[in-house]
Amino acid sequence: MAIEVNDNNFDDLVLKSDKPVVVDFWAEWCGPCRMVGPIMEEISHEYEGRALVAKCDVDSCPGVSAKYSIRNIPTVLFFKDGKIADKQVGAVPKNNFVVKLNALI
């Protein structure tokens, strides 16, 4: 299952993770985010133990959203060793996310 992250726990759960982390920046009111949400859930199950999938609601994470200049949602950031390794903006097919994540494992 994808974990929820916020301004308080982002550093501990994402930046200090020993596995690659996929972070889905989304909001309740965002239509295209609802197309990416189920894909993230699938990836979280398929990559369990190898990567972490996190969801970050931009309305409740103003600090993290500003830090990473999130201007369009959904934006999916791929973190490895505490740094951004890749990025995907917009609702795209699952394979686009899988290819980017596989490159980090």
């Binding site: 909001a27 009111w29 965002c30 239509g31 295209p32 985010c33 609802r34 197309m35 931009v58 309305d59 103003p62 959203s65 999130i70 201007r71 369009n72 949602i73 959904p74 934006t75 903006v89 917009g90 609702a91 795209v92």
Partner: protein, 191 residues
């Protein structure tokens, strides 16, 4: 995701506008995005609806009862919601919309588009507002919006509320993401 489309009901306009409306309908159906619109059977509304249906998509019309009585409704959309008046029709469409697209149109379309902008300015609607600028139809309106900004009737930040697409393909690309144009629109609503 449901995309609300506002568009002309005129059947006397250049055929290029109808082609763009049909292409948008096809692309929305292919992208598996549901459509809600004003329920009309002719003009750009009709072209859009026909293309969505021909390509296996889902389109819901929302039409006031008097227009239905006049026979202005589309005959076979996926669902038709009949409202008591124009205000209720628009309210229903806004409620269903995750994103709004305005095609070329007359004063009715313009009124729907500008109400969407007003709602987003006030933080009452948070989805995308995309203007399909076929044949540069909205050139004067876009200039007028700039005029509002330069005269401080709108803030510069408010220009982030809408996006302009030249082609139906660009509309689909823009629908794939939502601009987080402002975190607290009401804080800048007063100018």
């Amino acid at each position: 995701m449901t995309v609300c489309v506002f568009a002309s009901s005129s059947s006397r306009i250049d055929n290029d506008y109808a082609t763009a409306a049909s292409t948008l309908g096809l692309l929305l159906a292919k992208a598996k995005m549901d459509v809600v619109y004003g329920g009309g059977g002719i003009g750009l509304m009709g072209s859009l609806a026909d293309a969505v249906l021909e390509n296996g998509g889902k389109i819901t019309g929302v039409i006031p009862s008097f227009m239905k009585d006049e026979g202005w409704d589309h005959s076979h959309v996926s669902e038709m919601i009949v409202t008591s008046d124009m205000g209720e029709r628009k309210k229903k469409m806004f409620e269903m919309a995750d994103a709004i697209v305005a095609l070329p149109g007359g004063v009715g379309t313009l009124e729907e588009l500008t109400e969407a902008m007003t709602l987003r300015q006030l933080g009452l609607y948070e989805g995308s507002i995309i203007i399909l600028n076929t044949l540069n139809f909205y050139r004067s309106f876009i200039d007028f919006l700039e005029h509002m900004v330069s005269g401080n009737f709108l803030r510069y930040e408010h220009k982030g509320m809408w996006e302009i697409a030249d082609t139906p393909q660009e509309v689909i690309e823009l629908l794939g993401k939502t601009k987080t144009w402002h975190r607290n629109p009401r804080s800048i609503a007063r100018i």
